[in-house]
């Protein structure tokens, strides 16, 4: 293994592949960022050029910040995403712990039932969901969105986390039991820290679709007070005219918070504190 790793040709090939992928993945993002600082004319004339003194403008950002309530949308998106992630991780890991740790009748059946949601898209149930929300008076609330996203994220979360929790040393949990830790302390203090990388994976997987979702905000919470960022940005895309400056600026600003969240989670992805716990 070491031999392969230290072969300069292999190192070169690996880096070349990774760099190519990075360029391809980042290219559209860079184009959006660059063009958000340009005048409308130069966006179309020379989309790949960097802004210079002639073409540089902040007009897009000004429009975005003036029109609509950008900060409110932003706040709504943030609340929905963070709250949904929090509860997906909390409930998902608790269910995963129960499934992986305890022997009870119907364990396998329960695991299957929880995993079915991975295969059936929640959007199929949109009409029923809307009816439920209307009946419970939750239309045009962020709660409605949060509830739906939790339901959408749980199946995969339970599936991934229970797989990881099975790998946490049984002896470690038993040592906790002998020391008198309650099942809750064993879960929160011993097991959760050891599956942190898996939790981060689940968080990243769920974060982007929730942040970008247009479907449920449009159906369940289209009101001005509960608009999310993605929904709010739609006003700049018209049927006849599209304010490209505003669209590009809005998108650029929307990238930022997701990036911050991602950096937080990816730290956890890399960090492994298991080493030395068990042989």
């Amino acid at each position: 293994m070491n031999k392969v790793r230290h072969n300069p040709l292999n190192i070169f090939a690996a880096h070349a592949a990774l760099l190519t992928y990075t360029v391809i993945a980042l290219f559209p993002v860079i184009v959006i960022l660059v063009n958000s600082f340009k005048t409308r004319r130069s966006i179309f004339r020379d989309p790949l050029a960097l802004p210079n003194t002639d073409t540089f403008t902040l007009i897009g950002y000004e429009t975005v910040l003036k029109q609509g309530d950008y900060f409110l949308y932003f706040q709504n998106s943030m609340i929905v995403t963070v709250a949904s992630l929090f509860f997906i991780l909390l409930f998902g890991s608790m269910a995963a712990f129960a499934l992986s740790e305890y022997r009870f009748k119907g364990n396998t059946l329960m695991a299957l039932y929880l995993a079915i949601g991975i295969m059936i898209p929640i959007r199929l149930g949109t009409i029923s969901i809307l009816q439920i929300m209307v009946a419970s008076g939750l239309v045009n609330t962020l709660t409605a969105l949060i509830l739906v996203y939790i339901a959408q994220g749980l199946p995969l979360a339970v599936f991934i986390l229970s797989e990881f929790m099975r790998q946490v040393s049984a002896d470690l949990k038993d040592a906790g039991r002998i020391d008198g830790l309650s099942e809750y302390r064993i879960f929160f203090v011993l097991v959760l820290p050891l599956v942190r990388p898996a939790m981060a994976t689940v968080a990243v997987f769920n974060m982007i679709p929730i942040w970008n979702d247009l479907w449920f905000p449009l159906i369940l919470a289209p009101g001005e007070a509960t608009k999310t960022l993605t929904l709010g940005s739609q006003i700049f895309i018209g049927q006849f005219v599209t304010d490209w400056n505003a669209v590009l600026s809005g998108l650029s600003m929307a990238i930022l918070p997701v990036m911050i969240l991602y950096v937080i989670f990816s730290r956890q992805l890399i960090r492994g504190i298991t080493s030395g716990a068990v042989k």
Binding site: D174, R177, I178, L181, A277, V278, K279
Partner: protein, 333 residues
């Protein structure tokens, strides 16, 4: 105080019965070792004593108190695991003190106990390190320290040495023997290492297929095994078994057994064979002899040399022959 009784313990996982009618009495201060082949139910029995697993039926009594329904932390036991099972995010000191903290003991008492245990196991310099920053042997000592701190009536060890290398294993074995002398606590210890069992135990419990085959002191088991399984399991190299017809035994005797160290090699005798292999161990020599298709091991003291393929005769005293009936039970005369 620290006695243990197991009464009619049964345990099934689903339809598989892994423990069948286990009865055992352990006196206070005894060092008891469970041995047996892999999968015979040693760990399961230990976990039932600890309360980590419920018996399907039967009673566990610790210090004459029925503990069937008590959680592990209230049974007055401490357990050392094969994989150490230290809390990775806590320092050595916190690893050792967590149990007492959970039991709401005063801080002063906790510090005293931890320092005492650390002193006993020479862990004092490492008290503020994390488990990841310790060697395998040190981690195992921390695991033992964590058990000592709890001041239990009963120590439970599940193959504590099997992750250590040979030299460390000998050291830790001696250390456990010393701890037992100093603490005078009852110890239940699971292993499948013969040497550990023979050297540490006051009493060995030999198990097979979820049953106790025999209970006795190491020398009782060696000198007076009840059946063919125990005879073959205790002693290394293992006892030789051959069909009784070689020795012209009565009809009901199926198998005869002879320990490798009870046989010598002679120039003449009743039974002859061909030398098929030699093992030189320095202090002694193992000679494998092919007697009418059955391989007999002979353990000779010192360094000997024989020609492979040469014909020799087995010398032994009839008093050293163990005989067994059809069911594998020992026939004593």
């Amino acid at each position: 105080m620290g006695s243990l009784s197991l009464r009619n313990i049964h345990k099934s996982f689903g339809s598989v019965e892994v423990l069948k009618d286990i009865n055992l009495e352990v006196d206070e201060g005894e060092f008891v070792i469970f041995v047996g082949p892999s999968g015979c139910g040693k760990s399961t029995l230990l976990r039932i004593i600890a309360g980590l697993e419920d018996a399907s039926s039967g009673d566990v009594l610790i210090a004459d108190q029925r503990v069937n329904t008590l959680p592990p932390s209230n049974r007055g036991i401490a357990m050392v695991f094969q994989t150490y099972a230290l809390y990775p995010h806590l320092s050595v000191r916190k690893n050792m003190s967590l149990g007492l903290k959970q039991a709401k003991q005063p801080t002063k008492y906790i510090t005293e106990r931890v320092n005492l245990a650390a002193d006993m196991l020479e862990l004092t310099p490492y008290l503020d390190r994390r488990p990841a920053e310790l060697s395998g042997g040190q981690r195992q000592r921390v695991a033992i320290g964590r058990a000592i701190v709890r001041n239990p009536k009963l120590f439970l060890f599940d193959e504590p040495l099997s992750n250590l290398d040979a030299a460390l294993r000998v050291n830790t074995r001696l250390e456990i023997a010393r701890l037992h002398r100093e603490l005078e606590t009852t110890i239940i210890y699971v292993t499948h290492d013969q040497v550990e069992a023979m050297t540490l135990a006051d009493k060995i419990v030999v198990m097979q297929n979820g049953r106790i085959e025999q209970v006795g002191s190491p020398m009782e088991l060696y000198n007076d095994p009840d059946n063919i399984f125990v005879a073959g399991f205790i002693g290394s190299p293992a006892m030789n078994f051959f069909s009784a017809r070689l020795l012209e035994m009565p009809e009901n005797i199926k198998t005869a057994g002879l320990r490798p160290e009870a046989i010598s090699i002679k120039k003449s005798g009743k039974i002859s064979g061909e030398i098929s292999h030699l093992e030189h161990l320095g202090a002694d020599t193992n000679v494998y002899i092919d007697v009418e298709g059955e391989l007999i091991t002979v353990r000779l003291f010192g360094q000997r040399d024989y020609e492979i393929g040469s014909t020799v005769y087995l010398g032994f005293s009839d008093d050293d022959v163990f005989i067994f009936d059809e069911a594998g039970r020992r026939v004593r005369n």
